[in-house]
């Protein structure tokens, strides 16, 4: 009960400025907490998350509550059944604190939501929270809950993780069930945890992962849970210097370089890798991520276009007008890119680079300056590094690795082989055992 009351107090004190939550389950959480206490008193523990306050992005169904996906179009929806991931968390004893704000229909990277409020960054409330799982990143960073679920199509777990200074993992495509989650792009959608540490992420991940025979995209492969730390001596870290190491804000470049030095000091070694034609991943990412949602939203876009936020409506309209051949070429390119990465894994164990090339910009910005004072389109810039795992289906996590001169978090992305989530989490946990970035929290007096 203390954990729930502490979370509710934190939400009450901070969420008026953060807009991390769409629905808060205060009374339900208290009732469940009482039941959990009775169970423990009787010697029963439901699972590894027994009594732990968790919140869920509002495109993930919780039975009996709306699943708005950050929209007004679904504002009056009512889910009759838990999403698969919700059911697994519930069975493990998690207490749901509420549904988290997000970029509308997950189609954006800022969580500037015109219907439920713009999610603000707890490190600086004038800055954006990243997205589309912005509420998830903020709720964890601001200590409103102990963990959160998000979804990641083009980077929507990893981006708010990096921007808010928490750990988040996008699993291998098919590793976690998508059943009961409002889709964005069917061929790239995944769900995963955000938490204060890699160890907490691992705890949540191993609860939600696993085959779901009711989800046709779910993999039948069920790897065992592994140790939460590992010996990185001999770990071969692939660095794609002409892509991951160029055109970055200097703070980001320096932080990732120092993080790599930490891992090298622990015994890892750097292997320079080149992936041919990697630059084309942005076009492929944007094309697929535009065309698939536009197909899903066809009816609503025709019947009630005015009910979308301007940015999402624009992207949906653009997606309707892309040639089918462009979509297919993007899907062919995905196979090439995946093949190139799988071949590279013969010589490296993981790839490491920045999660994104810049730190949090001001709320409302549609462009970002990375280098030389030149403004660039926000959407393409924000997905430059995260799109790779989305296109290839590989697992990728973001772990805090520093702060910029303004005290804003910087994230490092670790990409692994298919189904290597526990290896990635163990590497991140080992990094966190040698650093303290994940232990820092925003100053709540300033909120």
């Amino acid at each position: 009960m203390e954990l729930v009351e502490a979370s509710l107090a934190r939400i009450a004190a901070t969420d008026g400025r953060m807009h991390a939550f769409i629905h808060i389950f205060a009374e339900q959480a208290r009732e469940v907490a009482k039941a959990m206490e009775l169970l423990i008193g009787a010697g029963h523990v439901l699972g590894p998350l027994h009594g732990i306050p968790i919140a869920l992005k509002d495109n993930i169904a919780v039975a009996g509550f709306p699943t708005t996906a950050g929209s007004v179009i679904l504002a009056d929806s009512s889910s009759t059944e838990d999403a698969a991931v919700t059911a697994r968390l519930r069975q493990a004893g998690a207490i749901f604190m509420g549904k988290l704000n997000m970029h509308e229909f997950a189609w954006g990277g800022t969580s500037a939501n015109p219907h439920y409020g713009t999610v603000a960054n707890p490190w600086d409330t004038t800055r954006f929270a990243g997205g589309s799982s912005g509420g998830s990143g903020v709720a964890v960073a601001a200590r409103m809950c102990f963990g959160a679920l998000g979804t990641d199509t083009g980077g929507s777990i990893r981006l708010p993780s990096a921007i808010n200074g928490v750990c988040g993992i996008r699993p291998t495509y098919g590793r976690v069930s998508n059943r009961g989650i409002v889709p964005l792009a069917w061929s790239m959608d995944t769900a995963g945890p955000l938490a204060r540490s890699a160890a907490d992420c691992a705890l949540m991940f191993n609860v939600i992962a696993g085959h779901d025979r009711r989800d046709r995209t779910s993999s039948a492969l069920d790897p065992d849970a592994a140790d939460t730390t590992c010996d990185v001596r001999g770990l071969r870290i692939g660095v794609i210097r002409d892509y991951f190491d160029v055109h970055l804000q200097s703070n980001v470049k320096d932080a990732v370089a120092r993080a790599l030095a930490v891992l090298v000091a622990l015994g890892a070694r750097i292997v320079d890798v080149a992936i041919p034609n990697i630059q084309a991943n942005i076009s492929a990412q944007l094309t697929i991520e535009a065309a698939e949602p536009s197909a899903y939203h066809q009816q609503w876009l025709r019947e009630r276009p005015q009910d979308y936020g301007e940015d999402v409506r624009t992207l949906l309209e653009v997606g309707e007008l892309l040639p089918a051949t462009h979509y297919l070429q993007a899907q062919r390119y995905r196979r090439v890119l995946r093949s190139d990465f799988l071949a590279a894994f013969k010589n490296v164990d993981v790839f490491i680079g920045p999660t994104l090339p810049f730190t949090a910009t001001s709320i409302g910005a549609t462009s970002v300056i990375i280098e030389d004072g030149v403004p660039e389109d926000m959407l393409a810039a924000i997905m430059r590094f995260t799109g790779i795992a989305s296109l290839t289906g590989l697992p990728a996590l973001s772990v805090p690795c520093g702060f910029d001169a303004d005290g804003l978090p910087i994230g490092m992305q670790i990409i692994g082989r298919p189904f290597a989530e526990n290896d990635l989490l163990a590497i991140a946990a080992t990094f966190q055992s040698a650093t303290d970035f994940h232990l820092r929290a925003p100053l709540f007096d300033a909120i």
């Binding site: 061929s187 046709r216 007008l321």
Partner: protein
């Protein structure tokens, strides 16, 4: 150059195809009724995206990639081996 003027391609040759009228015609063909003025919003985005896609399309025409299939997703039954 006005927003409605055709963009110049990589070779400096103007592409006469992509104009506001083109956008509206494509939308009509897709049974998408655009509100007045929407084509002016979509046009600059489409120009950039389609120009970038042209490079990707050209890449995928390379002889080395001639046999590459699109990633597709087949449903997997309990005992079927899926094709991905």
């Amino acid at each position: 150059m006005t927003d409605d003027a055709p963009p110049r391609g990589d070779a400096g040759v103007a592409d006469p195809a992509l104009t506001a009228q083109t956008v509206r015609a494509l939308a009509t063909a897709a049974s998408l009724r655009l509100a007045p003025g929407r084509e002016a919003i979509l046009l600059p985005i489409l120009r950039v995206w389609l120009a970038d896609n042209a490079k990707l399309n050209a890449l995928m025409q390379a002889e080395a990639y001639r046999e590459v299939l699109p990633i597709t997703l087949f449903e997997c039954g309990g005992n079927e081996s899926g094709v991905r």
